[in-house]
Symmetry: C2
Subunit: 369 residues, 2 copies
């Protein structure tokens, strides 16, 4: 998390009442844009990132020096064409890439806020990002989109602001976090909290962060992003740089080495407390309950045209859960398209080079612009 | 792990050459029996336990004071009827319920062996348990059975000793551990090793064991034992002893509370180093590779009658992998039956009250005895 001061930041002075009851104000929202807002201001797409994402959608992420997380989808000439559209993406509140979160400094104490940060929700994240429309003087977005937690934010955005986007593309998501997904997130949180360095969230005052715990949480999550078949095809039982089993606890298999790498690389760019807060927001997400058990009420005033996308091998946010949103939208009389993309790459499909997915998004955007 | 001295133990004086190259001898194998061996000694069933199991198959486990792990299946009048059959079950080597394992005391140093214990395999476990036949003077077992890692041992037993059992019932298992399962086991190992108390396995000399890490490993495993649907049906988004979200990191949801309980209860009865060794043995299991890529060669000399059982909602050892064994057995000209039981309880189905499963085992045993 070096060079975090380099990111573009908007200070939200409008007070924001959070679902927990607290009100925050004068807080930073870090964002990035790609492409150019046209004169009519009708070509803006607000992209929402997922759990481990950030505002650096495409190009080179200036903090990590790696490609943006949606480089396959977004860019000049790509499915979300930055020659045509103006892309805005903000780091969610609770995050660690410049937006107000547990690693922000409390001005009163000059220490990081840590677990004094309020527990936030997907609704809070979306309401914070709504300020971007005022900032860019956009009356109505052309689209909102995102995968996984990004898709949940897209659903929440339309529910909260039914007149503020022409289209919406929620991808590989759900209207209500499942018990299995709560369980998997709780596993990650417990891995972090089990690390003695976590120290109830007050680790910025000490030499070391709960890197071991965060790496384990990331490993667990990473397994769930892939399908059984993709793991088998990519790794199988292939050994790591050796011809035979080593009869030790070193990484014998390539899959072990890969997971260890994923865990260790993550701690360089992510804050453990942010991981706790963002997974908590995901678990709290229940748009069905927000609308008293009737999801279609979330969309009954919306003129937004929806395109819901799921992937066959995604077992984290399976087609079944995406279809529940389609059914609710139909019940609300909304304009809704749906496609289940054939892919054996699991939940990660929305981040990868899956041609049918990329062309589906491209075609929907072109047909409706 | 109190009262471990109370368990029945056989000392194996026959040297056992392990797959890693080391030879062990004069080591303890803890076991339990249920029912009575008949005069012809043709009614014995050797049961193999799974990762977190032990020799206490049914009745009350004298160490934990809880029911034996296979109480639904095994007992007087039950599917595996202890009024009719003589059941033998041993704690696997590498385990922590009295058999030779990392928590055994090294006589030379008077300390626990820890990670000086050799890395063992499913083959080693089975070869160690073969000594039970000599001990009970049984020439041929009536059956071998077990679920999950127990099923793998059953397959290995028949491969190693084609004349030594009349029947075999491998349940919810595989002939070759998948990349996804290696990944999940590695996650558990890394959770343990991330705990500072693990201390490279030398934690019996200190005040504290790596309980946090072991609890996280157990939580991770527990999620995989259940199906998405069973988690949804059992827990859904039900809150734990409260009416509304608490906006904290306490266990808001029942599923969180359940997982925390599962993790904490496990550390009272299981040794973290044993968890490392046993998961490693599972990951190393590849009967296909043992037989040079042709699984049917593992069974080509066997007169054993097989009954393979899988469960529809088991995503850890799915029907597909169980069927690979059936196909290989057919290719070897073996006598093989197969059933996929409809159950939405996931991998754990083999431990639960699933009537079709219980009656299938009962019918197979009765028809062949």
């Amino acid at each position: 998390m070096n060079n975090i001061e380099k990111v573009k930041t908007l200070i939200i002075d409008e007070p924001l009442k959070l679902d927990c009851g607290q009100t925050i104000s004068n807080f930073p929202l870090a964002y990035e844009t790609y492409g150019t807002l046209n004169e009519k201001k009708d070509n803006a797409i607000l992209v929402f990132h997922a759990l481990s994402g950030d505002q650096f959608v495409t190009g080179t992420n200036p903090i990590t020096n790696k490609s943006g997380w949606w480089s396959y989808l977004v860019g000049p000439g790509k499915a979300i064409d930055t020659n045509k559209f103006f892309i805005i993406c903000a780091n969610v509140i609770g995050g660690c890439m410049g937006s107000y979160g547990p690693s922000s400094i409390d001005q009163k104490t000059n220490k990081t806020i840590g677990t004094n940060f309020p527990v936030i929700t997907i609704n809070d994240m979306v309401n914070a990002q709504y300020n971007l429309l005022n900032f860019f003087k956009i009356d109505k977005l052309f689209s909102v989109t995102g995968g996984s937690m990004g898709g949940m934010q897209a659903l929440q955005f339309v529910a909260n602001f039914p007149d503020k986007t022409k289209t919406a593309i929620p991808i590989a998501c759900t209207a209500s976090h499942s018990a299995q997904n709560i369980a998997l997130n709780e596993l990650g949180r417990q891995a972090i909290m089990a690390d003695k360095n976590w120290n109830n969230g007050n680790y910025f005052n000490t030499e070391s962060s709960p890197n071991n715990g965060l790496a384990v949480a990331r490993m667990a999550a990473h397994i769930t992003y892939l399908s059984k078949k993709s793991l088998e095809d990519k790794f199988g039982r292939k050994l790591q740089e050796r011809d035979s089993l080593k009869f030790s606890f070193d990484a014998d298999f390539q899959i072990e080495s890969y997971l260890r790498h994923q865990g260790n690389a993550f701690v360089d760019r992510f804050d453990a407390n942010s991981y706790l807060y963002i997974t908590r927001a995901m678990d709290y997400f229940d748009l069905i309950k927000q609308y008293k058990g009737n999801l279609s009420n979330a969309f009954k005033n919306s003129k937004t045209k929806f395109f819901i996308i799921s992937f066959t091998s995604d077992w984290l946010y399976p087609t079944l859960e995406n279809k529940e949103v389609v059914i609710a939208l139909n019940a609300a009389g909304a304009n809704v398209g749906f496609i289940e993309i054939n892919s054996d790459k699991g939940h990660d499909s929305f981040l990868l080079d899956v041609p049918d997915f990329l062309s589906s998004v491209r075609n929907f955007l072109e047909a409706n612009y």
